[in-house]
């Protein structure tokens, strides 16, 4: 189970929509509280269902958001490369995430709106440095062009999968946000299961950036 966090207006919902529906909707209703999306992906031949919670960015919803950290195995921490303040707030988001989630939660830092290169306000190197400093995975994405969106989600899933294999996650404890499906993974899970489909989806959009 993932959770997407970040300031309001950075494109969290668009990222989710791009990932689950493969489309970009410039105008959509703002997120109130928490919304939800899901998609099956294939990692290492394992069919995995990613259940993604898309949270509202505004401060007043933080308490709601916090309730969802607990069950999350991964988090996408999103900022907007055209707005420095969203980058500046990363620290508080990170603190929140670390404080309310399990220590093993995989956090991926995402600089969204990479298509707006001309309005860039946060350098790629800064994002990389921040990620290095805090032990996060980093990527720049564009929900508009779909650039790196797949990779962002799937790389996070891979990282979680790797941690599972290393035994860092207790897959029997659902509080970790991981659930092993019966035979085929059918619910909120990142875990081993019989893979029956090809992994053609993975990386279908890769390399665009």
């Amino acid at each position: 189970m993932y959770i997407i966090i970040g300031d309001t207006g950075v494109g969290k919902s668009c990222l989710l929509l791009q990932f689950t529906d493969k489309r970009f909707q410039p105008v959509h209703d703002l997120t109130i509280g928490v919304e939800f999306g899901a998609r099956m992906v294939n990692i290492d031949g394992k069919q995995i269902k990613l259940q993604i919670w898309d949270t509202a960015g505004q401060e007043s919803f933080r308490s709601i958001t916090r309730s969802y950290y607990r069950g999350a195995a991964g988090a996408l921490l999103v900022y907007d490369i055209t707005r420095r303040e969203t980058f500046n707030h990363l620290t508080s988001w990170l603190e929140d995430a670390r404080q309310h989630s399990s220590s093993n939660m995989v956090i991926m830092l995402i600089g969204n709106k990479s298509d707006l290169e001309s309005r860039r306000d946060v350098k790629r190197e800064e994002g990389e440095a921040f990620a290095r400093e805090h032990g996060l995975i980093f990527m720049e994405t564009s929900a508009k062009t779909a650039c790196n969106v797949e990779e962002a989600f799937i790389n996070t899933a891979k990282e979680i999968y790797r941690k599972i294999q290393q035994g860092l996650f207790d897959v029997h404890n659902e509080a970790n946000g991981i659930k092993i499906g019966p035979q085929q993974c059918i619910s909120t899970s990142v875990g081993p299961s019989a893979s029956q489909r090809s992994s053609s989806e993975i990386g279908s959009n890769s390399g665009c950036c």
Binding site: T8, G9, V27, H28, D29, L30, T31, I32, G33, V34, A56, Q58, S60, F61, S63, I64, S67, Y68, R70, G71, E85
Partner: protein
């Protein structure tokens, strides 16, 4: 009310009192042709004159409306402001404004609206130009009272505008403008304004409506607003305006009313939210408010009315839980308890899910937006209306002396807020507002039997359609608005009777626990109001109604 300088001449057409209160109706006339339904008007004109005089916005409509030339060829006028400005050194300050016909653009072209910074300045700015244009404009509308107030504070107003002109706000205006205007009139009381306003810059919210609020606390509010430091202004921009800007374009875009680029209705919604944030800084802006204000705006159509409706709605914290966590916690707690009473099996299922299940966070949005996103718009509005109608009944019952004498200071009583929301434009509603002082005492919308001036044929048509299509509410149906013979008093009477009957039935049943009483009561009222309640609807109604503490008093 008005500054002495003001000449009695204002609106020829309108009698003095009415004029004040009716700026919208009067002004729009010529105006209206150019503008989208809502866009143009300055929101809060209904406010009483005392403030009104200081408040350019209230008068804005007038100048526009009265001056034919302007309204006819507003844009050309504005486009060539420079000559005028330059020729008028004393009015020099306004010069910036001239270039920025923000207000006019706002009113006349949707494009203007898109500019984030124009909201407030616009109205004010629009006024300025007129004053500065002695010859042409004055001649056209010599009587317009507008000039008087403005003259006194040309500087302040000007300063407010300057931001709108330059995307980079704080830079230029403050100093130059003041300098140019030091002698400006007798800004005695107003002089305070200039400084803060100037410093405020474009992000600072010059909120006309707020200042205009006649309430006692309006003064304090005004002071608070004007004493904002640049830091605070920046904070306001960061915390409120920025978010509002982002959110209004993400609200109800599927609704025809808000569809399209540069839609003036979206701009109206934006102004309402910004003004509310200053009006009620404790709440400020919280995501979700735009969802609540949008249907009201689409229904009421008038920005000013919508604002006050929204104020009323926000008092009703049951629907709009304030951003504070504990409020939502409390409501979810109520809901949980309600569920335990009504659907024990489901409750037990939630228990079996563990801690998360009982948190009932899935209900968060239901409560926050009063189910607005969970139902199609028509149903959602019906729910809103039914709930509010119910409150009205409750309230009436609680006040033996009748609606007019109801204690104004019952902030927790949302009924009229609901009524105001839906029937905002009706005189009765205004008379009933929980805190009458919030509305201008002079906001006479005319005799009750008189159709509201602003009520155009199109609006009437729209409302009639709503009635026919069954979308109209309870409160509406009893209102003379639609040309029906019933008045709000009639509605109240019906409610009272209904309530008395319910109460009698319930008391005969001797239901012991207040909870049960409340529950049954609400479910009955619910079904009686909605006539054909949907199953889910009923549950929701019950849940919502339950949440209101007033219900506990019934038993």
């Amino acid at each position: 009310m008005h500054s002495p300088s003001e000449t009695p001449s204002p609106h020829r057409e309108h009698p003095a009192p009415i004029r004040n209160t009716h700026p919208p109706s009067g002004a729009p006339s010529p105006h209206q042709k150019h503008t989208a339904p809502l866009g143009a008007h300055s929101p809060y004109r209904e406010h009483p004159s005392p403030i009104g005089s200081t408040q350019p916005p209230s008068e804005i409509p007038t100048p526009f409306g009265s001056t034919q030339p302007l309204s006819r060829s507003p844009i050309p006028h504005w486009e060539h402001p420079s000559p005028i400005g330059s020729t008028q050194p004393p009015s020099g300050a306004p010069s910036p404004h001239w270039k920025h016909p923000a207000c006019i653009r706002n009113t006349h072209s949707p494009i203007g609206n898109t500019h984030p910074h124009w909201e407030h300045p616009a109205p004010i700015g629009s006024m300025q130009p007129h004053q500065k244009h002695p010859a042409s404009i004055r001649s056209t509308q010599p009587p317009s009272r507008a000039p008087s107030p403005h003259r006194e504070h040309p500087a302040p107003i000007g300063s407010m505008h300057s931001p709108s002109e330059t995307p980079i706000p704080h830079r230029e205006h403050p100093a130059p403008i003041r300098n140019t205007h030091p002698p400006s009139g007798a800004p005695s009381p107003h002089q305070k304004h200039p400084a803060p306003i100037e410093s405020r810059g474009w992000e600072g919210q010059a909120l006309p409506g707020v200042c205009a609020a006649p309430q006692p606390r309006a003064g304090a509010l005004l002071c608070a607003r004007l004493s904002m430091t640049p830091e605070e202004h920046r904070a306001f921009w960061r915390n409120v305006q920025f978010t509002v800007d982002k959110d209004v374009v993400r609200t109800d875009r599927s609704n025809q009313f808000f569809r399209g680029e540069d839609n003036p209705n979206v701009e109206s919604m934006r102004r309402i939210l910004l003004n509310y944030a200053v009006y009620n800084p404790a709440i400020g802006y919280s995501q979700g408010m735009s969802d609540l204000v949008a249907p009201i705006l689409a229904e009421v159509l008038d920005e000013s009315d919508t604002f006050w409706c929204f104020v009323g709605l926000m008092q009703n914290t049951i629907f709009v839980s304030s951003p504070r966590d504990e409020d939502m916690e409390k409501q979810l707690l109520y809901l949980r308890e309600l569920l335990r009473l009504t659907h024990l099996r489901f409750y037990q299922h939630l228990v079996s899910l563990g801690e998360d299940g009982l948190q009932m966070l899935f209900c968060h949005r239901w409560l926050l937006l009063c189910f607005k996103r969970e139902f199609p718009e028509a149903e959602a509005l019906r729910i809103w209306e039914a709930c509010w109608a119910h409150y009205q009944a409750l309230q009436v019952r609680g006040s033996p002396t009748g609606p007019q004498t109801r204690a104004p200071e019952c902030p927790g009583l949302p009924d009229v807020a609901g009524g105001a929301c839906l029937g905002a434009a009706s005189p009765e509603t205004h008379r009933w507002c929980p805190r009458p002082s919030m509305y201008s005492p002079t906001r006479a919308l005319g005799p009750l039997s008189r159709p509201r001036p602003g009520l155009t044929a199109a609006r009437l048509e729209r409302r009639a359609w709503r009635v026919r299509s069954g979308r109209t509410l309870f409160v509406h149906q009893g209102n003379h608005w639609h040309g029906g013979s019933k008045t709000l008093d009639h509605v109240v009477f019906v409610n009272r009777v209904r309530f008395a009957r319910l109460h009698r039935v319930l008391s005969q049943q001797r239901i012991g626990r207040p909870r049960d009483v409340t529950f049954r009561l609400t479910s009955r009222v619910n079904s009686s109001v909605t006539q054909q309640p949907q199953p889910l609807c009923r549950v929701i109604f019950i849940a919502v109604l339950w949440l209101h503490p007033e219900l506990h008093k019934i038993s």
